[in-house]
Subunit: 363 residues, 2 copies
């Protein structure tokens, strides 16, 4: 870590690989000798189309997906996907089924409800979202238009450790906070989406990956910008795309390939998470994890301290040591350390050491 | 102009003020001593909220608007606004009225049509969109939900030189290609929007300016992300915003203030446009402007040459002189020089000189 930089444990926007930032900085006034910034260049220029197509190819390669899948770069974040999913698929009297495993999973369900097309297949709300519903808990109507899950629950610090079996019902996942953080059998999903600002790049682009045959199925009665089929047909260039953000996502995908791909990232991310979960588990109850052990997230580590006063002190003292953004979401309280792909191992080591010291001083 | 940079006459994404790009470059690794990039910093951080609020204040100051107006930073470009406008306002049996003055004006109308709520109040399509419909040509139903106009028609190179009187019908304008390029009595509009990538910053953020009382009027039956009221209520932070783009728009607004505001920009832009229109008008018919003189745009100068072969030659020779992106849209053909706020006077001078030389060599 360079002297003037901090470890940023915020849930997103989040840390970016420093070498990517440096690359972007060095070419900001003149992209590939075009005499223009990547911000200025036409989205119809061959240089930009090459950036977009390379980003798509790298993402598909990382995910192990072939020609039957396509990557789209959209806008509006996961929140817009919450609306697009039911508008595109919960049609013809069919309803969308939802597993409500946290705050964003519930928001997705509520957007379907606004349109009158949502049903709940499982929820862990009564258990304060401490666990991800199991296969047995999911009651899926085989006539459902799809099953929607939130693969990692950022606020509660839980993550799926299995892929729900849905029979012939298409599976859709919001992977905003764990996409490209570990290998998953992505072929089991018809549609996956993620706001970029956690593992993929800057806020302002939504990466959507879907089966082409599924993406083609948009009704013509909804606004053009909300139809997956339009964006598929136009290679994400139906209108002017968020060019700078796509360029940065492309750099991130290339960086992930250079690291060795998702298997290597999974190993690193598991080691990072273990440092923090060990600090919790070995604290004699001083730190109490929010998530049940078998639902623990590799991306967001949530825990409480013995009192709110100590929690405030923890946040302040951590910040003084350049360990920033560890305050949890108000709906859970306590701490949340978000440790996405770009968080170095040393950041987690430093935080784990701090946790240990803080416990000894205040326990 | 620095040696390795070019004059970019593309319609958007477009040139940015060089000093803004340099500023962004210098602080890309560490924003205001936070130890984080503007790309990495939390959108809930006080430093980011200050950026967002300053950008809003500067835009309102430039536009001469007070507390009864609000600025929103949304995503999805003007194309998403084409859908949001009718979804929010053409409700309760009311229809949205449209002046169809060009390609994007027509796209806006078509999005209302998809929802079954669009009517045409005037169109210049029969005249190949060479002029902006006059007040007399507009047949506005006083019961319309709104009148929607496209204030500058990028593809055809026409621009409004008056504000339509609409009585009690709210006036809505897509100002994607001329917002903040000259003073307008913005108070006559209930809602104005613009994709940033022409005069305001990088692609990826849509600047929406509206009367608060109008923005508040969103039905609760449409998706949350498409409701103006939500974004108004949450200060554009309902979900993670396109932070880098907002930051760049803020820099642009500050730059415009430093230049002297919109009156100064109008004067500069008029002088720039005059160079090119004079080159057309004094060419003895070699260059033929597409727009009728009283509808000419200050932002997009469109013209044809005697043959398509000469047009191709013009594009190639211009590019060899670092005058890039002058090729017109396929629906009009010929040339289009887009000369937004950040295009220096020298760029237009160079292009006008080139036009003169090219005419002499090929006329």
């Amino acid at each position: 870590m360079e002297a003037n930089r901090v470890y940023n444990f915020n849930p997103g926007p989040a840390m970016q690989p420093l070498e990517i930032l440096k690359e972007a900085q060095s070419e900001l006034l003149n992209f590939q000798g075009t005499g223009e910034s990547i911000i200025e260049i036409s989205h119809r220029a061959k240089e930009f189309e090459a950036v977009l197509n390379q980003a798509k190819a790298d993402i598909k390669e990382l995910m192990g997906l072939g020609d039957d899948y396509e990557v789209l770069f959209l806008q509006g974040g996961a929140s817009t996907q919450f609306a697009m999913v039911p508008m595109n698929y919960a049609v013809g009297g069919k309803k969308g089924a939802y597993v409500v495993s946290g705050s964003f999973a519930e928001k997705a369900y509520k957007e379907a409800e606004i349109l009158g097309v949502g049903t709940i297949a499982a929820t862990s709300k009564d258990g304060d979202f401490k666990h991800v519903p199991t296969q047995d808990e999911i009651k899926l109507d085989p006539a459902a238009a799809y099953l929607h899950i939130c693969y990692n629950n950022t606020i509660y610090g839980t993550e799926y450790h299995y892929i729900p079996e849905t029979g012939s019902v298409p599976l859709i996942a919001d992977m905003s906070s764990d996409m490209l953080s570990r290998p998953v059998d992505f072929r089991k999903f018809s549609l996956i989406y993620a706001g970029a600002q956690k593992n993929l790049g800057p806020a302002g682009v939504t990466v959507v990956v879907g089966r082409k045959a599924f993406l083609e199925n948009s009704p013509k009665t909804i606004p053009s910008m909300l139809r997956y089929a339009i964006h598929l047909d136009k290679n994400s260039l139906y209108n002017t795309p968020p060019a700078f953000c796509i360029y940065m996502v492309g750099k991130t995908a290339a960086w992930l390939k250079k690291q060795g791909g998702l298997a290597v990232m999974a190993e690193r991310n598991a080691k990072k998470a273990k440092l923090l979960y060990d600090a919790i588990d070995n604290s004699g109850g001083f730190y109490r994890g929010h998530a049940e052990k078998d639902s623990r997230s590799f991306m967001n580590v949530t825990f409480r301290l013995p009192s709110e006063d100590l929690e405030k002190k923890f946040v302040d003292e951590a910040k003084a040591q350049s360990l920033c953004g560890v305050k949890g979401h108000r709906s859970v309280g306590g701490m949340r350390a978000s440790i996405y792909n770009a968080m170095p191992y040393e950041g987690c080591e430093r935080l784990a050491e701090f946790m240990e010291k803080f416990r000894k001083a205040n326990g």
